[in-house]
């Protein structure tokens, strides 16, 4: 991220939205809106004085809304560019013309309430799509009680809780009582491999849960993990070894059976009902916390983006590519990589990114206009 | 639902029954119509399947054709059933897969002269039988070990005789008597008919003999308060004043006798000290009558009426016996016996008549009236109102069942009639055989009986008990209900409906009670199956599936 931010040939347009793309002069003319931050990017050094004084609390989307940030904020500490942004939906000054304390405390005078969203245009020879993924909201799976039972959370929420920069400073504290969760169950295929929601395999969740369970044990030696799975898809490089390590060294309990229902037991403890398909017995298990390994989806506006670019997407919004030319979209000169094409993990994304770069650079280096090659 | 069905072939055996069936039902036509592609049957006809030759043929056919179900279409189940079943079982067919179809009483005998219709009906009946056989589960007899010992309840002459007699066969016996002393009613009797020996002395001798037998244990002042188990293995709870103990035996003999009705309010009894019962009179005879010279005896006091329509059988003989005793003691005694006519044979009647005893017959519509010193009675024979002076009036009251016997009968699963006597399933053909095996009833508990009758019943019971106890195991056709425990929802309707107390409600782990069948008590009547809302209880030998298939077949739907 930092490398990209620093590379002299990379211009980073963060907080920006592609509005329109047209084919011109053998290349693309791209119209972009650069959203107003109400902070001058060239002046702000992200010292945080403004954040310390801002009175307005806002759910922190980066931490899955598990804690709060202020109306003036840095999306996350390592974010690039390291510049404050004022959230116009919450900022009291921008909404009611009151407050403005950030502007008062900023010694550099970086706050600029008059800043407006501005347009930008780019003329490029190729476009690479890497719009990534979003995760499935498990609320419709009412049998899992997400949103109703406090200690049923999603994998992404878990990631924030176990993260040192997260809302609990890396402690796996329960939503209900702030007590450390020792017994944690992971529910695989929440929304994945499910014809009602996502009929495909999200590919990364099995390993993700194993990793999470191992992290949990590293943070808390008393941690006991249960992973409820059907096929355990440890297909990637060294994944099988990783699973074996999780089982043997971290004591992860693997249970073959998809969780049928999560009920609320005493003390806000979730109770899982499931068939252990290997013993063929219906069992229930009470744990401190349940982590739903939710399905991964393309980003919600992928379909709209596809429409704008004339790129074919499937019914989920994944960019359609061919096995023999996996970096090429249906639109010439437009390439894709990563999760926007379909579920894949990090090394695959990286390889695909290089592949897309290869295809894009072939085009750009050839100097031939699109459609003329 | 359990998987039921025969894999092999069904053999249908049609019986001509000599000239009973063949002339009415066209067996040739019938043979041709039975069976078909979907019904793997072989058909055989002979003159008498019950004959020795017929049975040999039946067995041979079973073996030759490898049949695993048999339908015999002949006469009634009752007559032919055991024989045919026995033959088929010996040839390797399961008991429950031997089905009897009654072509005689149910068809030939009632449809004479309508050959075509009778044949058509016969076909449906046979079809029904085949359907039943096809769906019959293979059932094995219920087998259990036999505890070679007996309990005798009641220490009167019946019980003592049984005890002594069983002990003589080296069978350990425990006799349970509720009184402190043995002997029962005979202790209160003066002399016995027809020997005129001393009753109390006699019974004392019998009791002493029984008590002295090393095979007999006497538990007096004890009563049976609980019964569990079944033939070959009963467990009785016996309570005495200060203890309660368990008794394990192979069979139970019920010999509790009967009570003598106390005629309160009848013929001034209780108000007039000169009016006594026959039993009181027996005691007076033993101790001497004193000055009483004119004695009026009234028969059928409290019996043969609306409340107790039965004849107590023993009272008239006792009365006559007593008149003879009185005349021996007081030769000039004037004895008048008022009867309603004798319903039973009465011994020594002529002897009493010739000794001067007057017998008058009264009309129950105009019963005698006991005055201060006369009894006024309308003599039916002379159609005259007669007044007889008396010093003593003796009332002959009937034997009535002890309440306790009725309770005991309930515990033992023995039905009692409305008077509290033990009922018999069929008084003519199966006397002395009560529903539960291993329970034998002797003496007046069963029906008013004379000493002689009590004793002969005792010997009979002994023989049957010994027969039972001589086998190592007891077998029984599984004509019983069975509860599917997974289905039973513990409502208890079956237990309430069962007349034989064969349903026990047990506690289960899931907090819902479960019915279970005491297979020894169960008579396979099927009442439980009808009241069960869940159809959890079923007769294994006659399942709803079989019944429905039979109904369908009978209705011609095949």
């Amino acid at each position: 991220m930092l490398d990209a931010g620093r590379h002299p040939l990379i211009e980073l347009l963060a907080y920006s939205q592609v509005e329109r793309v047209s084919r011109e002069n053998g290349g693309f003319h791209v119209e972009i809106t650069r959203k107003a931050r109400y902070v001058d990017e060239n002046i702000c050094n992200a010292c945080g004085d403004c954040v310390a004084k801002c009175p307005t609390k806002v759910p922190n989307a980066f931490n899955m809304n598990l804690d709060e940030r202020r109306a003036v904020y840095l999306y996350f500490d390592q974010g690039i560019p390291s510049v404050m942004t004022i959230d116009p939906d919450y900022c009291r000054y921008l909404k009611d013309g009151k407050c403005g304390v950030c502007a008062k405390v900023c010694e550099k005078g970086a706050v600029d309430f008059e800043q407006k969203s501005r347009g930008a245009t780019l003329d490029v020879g190729a476009i690479v799509l890497a719009t990534g993924l979003t995760v499935f909201d498990p609320t419709p799976l009412t049998q899992y009680g997400y949103g109703k039972i406090k200690n049923v959370i999603t994998g992404l929420e878990y990631e924030r809780l176990i993260n040192a920069t997260g809302p609990t400073g890396g402690h796996l504290n329960r939503r209900s009582d702030d007590q450390l969760a020792h017994r944690v169950a992971y529910v695989q295929c929440t929304g994945s491999r499910d014809l009602n929601y996502c009929d495909y395999c999200s590919s990364v969740c099995c390993m993700c849960s194993i990793k999470d369970a191992m992290l949990g044990r590293e943070h808390d030696p008393e941690s006991v993990s249960y992973i409820f799975h059907t096929d355990l898809r440890n297909v990637g490089k060294w994944f099988q070894r990783y699973q074996t390590r999780g089982e043997e060294e971290y004591g992860i309990n693997f249970v073959r059976g998809r969780v049928a229902e999560i009920a609320e037991g005493p003390d806000d403890n979730p109770v899982l009902w499931y068939e252990d398909t290997r013993t063929r017995k219906v069992e229930k298990l009470m744990v401190d916390m349940v982590v739903l390994a939710t399905a991964a989806l393309p980003s919600p506006d992928a379909a709209a983006l596809g429409d704008m670019l004339g790129v074919e997407v499937d019914r989920y919004g994944f960019v359609v590519t061919d096995d023999a030319a996996p970096a090429d979209t249906s639109a010439e000169g437009i390439f894709a990589c990563g999760f926007c094409k379909g579920p894949c993990d990090i090394p695959e994304s990286v390889a695909q990114a290089s592949a897309a770069a290869s295809r894009a650079s072939e085009l750009v280096l050839s100097g031939a206009p699109v459609g003329k090659r | 639902m359990t998987s039921i069905g025969t894999n092999g072939r069904v053999g249908v055996f049609l019986c001509e029954c000599g000239e009973e069936i063949a002339p009415v039902v066209d067996l040739t036509k019938l043979s041709a119509k039975i069976g078909g592609a979907d019904m793997p049957v072989s058909v055989h006809v002979t003159r008498y399947w019950c004959s020795g030759a017929g049975r040999r043929l039946l067995a041979g056919t079973i073996e030759k054709e490898g049949l695993d179900a048999v339908v015999v279409a002949g006469c009634s189940e009752r007559i032919l059933g055991p024989l045919m079943r026995d033959t088929a079982v010996r040839a390797g067919v399961n008991w429950n897969r031997t089905v009897l179809v009654n072509l005689k009483e149910h068809c030939a005998n009632v449809h004479g002269g309508k050959r075509a219709a009778a044949t058509a009906k016969a076909l449906r009946l046979v079809w029904a039988g085949v359907e039943k056989a096809l769906r019959a589960e293979k059932l094995e007899p219920i087998v259990s070990d036999v505890n070679r010992s007996a309990a005798v309840i009641g220490g009167g002459i019946s019980g003592l005789t049984v005890a002594r007699s069983l002990a003589a066969r080296d069978i350990p016996v425990t006799l349970i008597e509720r009184e402190a002393e043995l002997g029962g009613t005979l202790r209160s009797i003066n002399r016995l008919f027809p020997s005129y020996c001393n009753s109390a002395e006699y019974v004392r001798e019998v009791a002493a003999e029984a008590s002295g037998d090393p095979n007999v244990e006497m538990w007096t002042s004890s009563r049976v308060t609980g019964v569990a188990g079944h033939a070959g293995d009963f467990r009785l709870t016996v309570e005495s004043a200060d203890s309660s103990r368990e008794l394990s035996v192979g069979c139970v003999v019920l010999a509790t006798g009967a009570d003598v009705l106390v005629p309160d309010g009848l013929f001034e009894y209780g108000d007039n000290p000169k009016v006594v019962t026959q039993l009181e009179f027996e005691a007076m005879l033993r101790e001497g009558l004193g000055t009483a010279k004119r004695i009026v005896m009234i028969q059928c006091v409290g019996s043969r009426n609306e409340e107790r329509p039965y004849c107590s059988r023993v009272c008239c003989t006792a009365t006559v016996k007593n008149t003879i005793t009185v005349l021996e003691q007081v030769p000039n005694a004037e004895i008048t016996v008022l009867t309603r006519g004798f319903a039973q044979y009465v011994g020594d009647l002529d002897r009493a008549r010739s000794a001067g005893v007057t017998f008058l017959r009264y009309d129950p519509e105009r019963p005698p009236e006991v005055g201060v010193d006369t009894v006024e009675v309308f003599d039916v024979i002379s159609s005259e109102e007669v007044a007889v002076r008396y010093d003593l009036v003796v009332l002959a009251t009937p034997l009535v069942a002890y309440d306790e016997t009725v309770e005991l009968a309930g515990l033992l699963g023995v039905p009692s009639d409305r008077h509290g006597f033990i009922a018999e399933p069929h008084t003519k053909l199966r006397p002395g055989r009560f529903a539960p095996r291993g329970v034998f009833i002797v003496g007046s508990a069963h029906w008013p009986a004379t000493v002689t009758e009590c004793q002969s019943q005792a010997y009979s019971a002994t023989a049957r008990a010994a027969e039972l106890l001589s086998s190592d195991v007891i077998e029984r056709e599984p004509v019983v209900a069975a509860v599917d425990e997974l289905t039973c929802r513990g409502c208890g309707e079956c237990a309430e409906a069962c007349a034989h107390d064969a349903v026990v409600m047990r506690d289960s782990d899931d907090g819902i009670k479960t019915a279970s069948i005491d297979t020894v008590r169960c008579v396979g009547c099927g009442v439980c199956t009808q009241v069960c809302p869940s159809s959890a209880v079923m007769l294994r030998h006659l399942t709803p599936g079989q019944l429905l298939a039979m109904v369908s077949a009978t209705a011609g739907r095949r």
Partner: protein
């Protein structure tokens, strides 16, 4: 052997994940019963043994498994196909109540309609022809069978008519009505079911009704979801009484008087998971002043079945489910458990009758509760 059933129910998609069995209220109590194993046996075994087994009849057809199945295997249909197969092979389920109810239904399929509406209370207004028909279902004749449980199904039918009258509607109650065929359908008796369906549709056509109102969700589900599959398009509107009444409450035409009580509500499988009607009954209860609705933990699509269906299988397993539901209901602190399905009412009442403990909960039918509130309310 089971190819057609596998294809029609999409059983072949089974992922062997166990969600069905883990969800099944029967499997939780009876380890012998497993929807997953049944489906997989159909897929893997090429023999009919399964048809002869009691498990074919153990399914409640509550639909919880199918609602959750990630492969959308229609286990209810699978069960029905097995039952049809079982029947054809001569194996039948264990009819409850000694088969009386089945006999009644089969009779109605063969003979004429019931010809009797004398059960309609004298103060109610019904007609023989009209725009709105009240399909009474089994209510009029279950009264005899279940009165000993204290379940007055005739009363339920009358309270429904009373409420419709209060809305100014004088419904058709037909003498030619028959059983909807629900129980025959779900126990694999296709022929009788189809006969009933045709006769009922003819009856409605002859009544001139444009809208049919149901008090029983089973009838409603049969008419709206199953009939069209077998006898073609339905030419009239259908609604549950709760849907009918809600529209009148919303328009202000119907209102209730004060009724202080705390109730809880049982979502019937048919009305809920099958038809998706969750809110209307709650809205109606909510419109009674003073009436407080306390919800059980498992509600709406997650509601626990009343434990029995179609008069097959009324075992200790079913009873355990009923007792479990009753205790869930009692735990809400409610004094009354309201249900909008007469069958739920019967089944839960039966278990409540047997229950050894004190402090059981009263079980009431939705229209009875509302009709009572009507009587105590304003006479406007």
């Amino acid at each position: 052997m089971f190819e057609k059933a596998i294809r029609e129910t999409k059983a072949y998609y089974c992922l062997e994940c166990g969600i069905c069995t883990g969800s099944c209220p029967v499997s939780r109590l009876n380890p012998q019963y497993s929807p997953r194993i049944m489906v997989e046996r159909a897929l893997l075994d090429d023999d009919e043994t399964m048809l002869s087994e009691r498990e074919v009849w153990d399914c409640l057809t509550c639909g919880t498994c199918s609602a959750r199945c990630p492969s959308t295997v229609d286990f209810n249909e699978f069960t029905r196909a097995m039952r049809i197969g079982a029947r054809e092979s001569g194996f039948e389920g264990v009819d409850t109540h000694a088969g009386i109810l089945r006999a009644l239904m089969e009779l109605e399929a063969r003979r004429r309609g019931r010809r009797d509406i004398s059960w309609v209370a004298d103060d109610l207004r019904v007609s023989s022809r009209g725009k709105v028909l009240f399909f009474t279902g089994c209510l009029p004749y279950y009264g005899v069978v279940f009165s000993e449980l204290g379940v007055d199904t005739v009363g339920m039918a009358n309270s429904t008519i009373r409420l419709m009258n209060a809305c100014g509607v004088r419904p058709v109650v037909s003498r030619d009505e028959r059983c909807c065929g629900h129980d025959l359908y779900w126990t694999g008796d296709r022929d009788s079911f189809k006969k009933l369906a045709r006769k009922n549709l003819k009856m409605i056509e002859e009544s001139g009704a444009r809208t049919v109102v149901f008090a029983c969700p089973e009838c409603y589900a049969m008419f709206s979801q199953i009939y069209p599959k077998f006898v073609g398009k339905i030419g009239f509107d259908m609604m549950h009484i709760s849907e009918f009444l809600v529209s009148h409450v919303e328009s202000g035409r119907l209102s209730f008087g004060e009724k202080e009580s705390r109730v809880t509500y049982q979502d019937p499988c048919r009305l809920g998971r099958f038809l998706g009607v969750y809110e209307e009954p709650r809205a109606l209860l909510g419109s009674v002043p003073g009436l407080e609705l306390a919800e059980m933990p498992r509600v709406r699509s997650e509601a626990l079945c009343c434990g029995s269906s179609a008069w097959v299988g009324c075992t200790r397993i079913n009873k355990s489910i009923q007792l479990e539901r009753l205790s869930e209901a009692a735990d809400t602190g409610a004094t009354t458990l309201v249900t909008s399905c007469p069958k739920c009412n019967i089944h839960l009442s039966c278990a409540a009758k047997d229950k050894d403990t004190d402090g059981g909960i009263e079980i009431s039918f939705l229209t009875d509760v509302l009709s009572d509130a009507l009587a105590g309310g304003t006479e406007s």
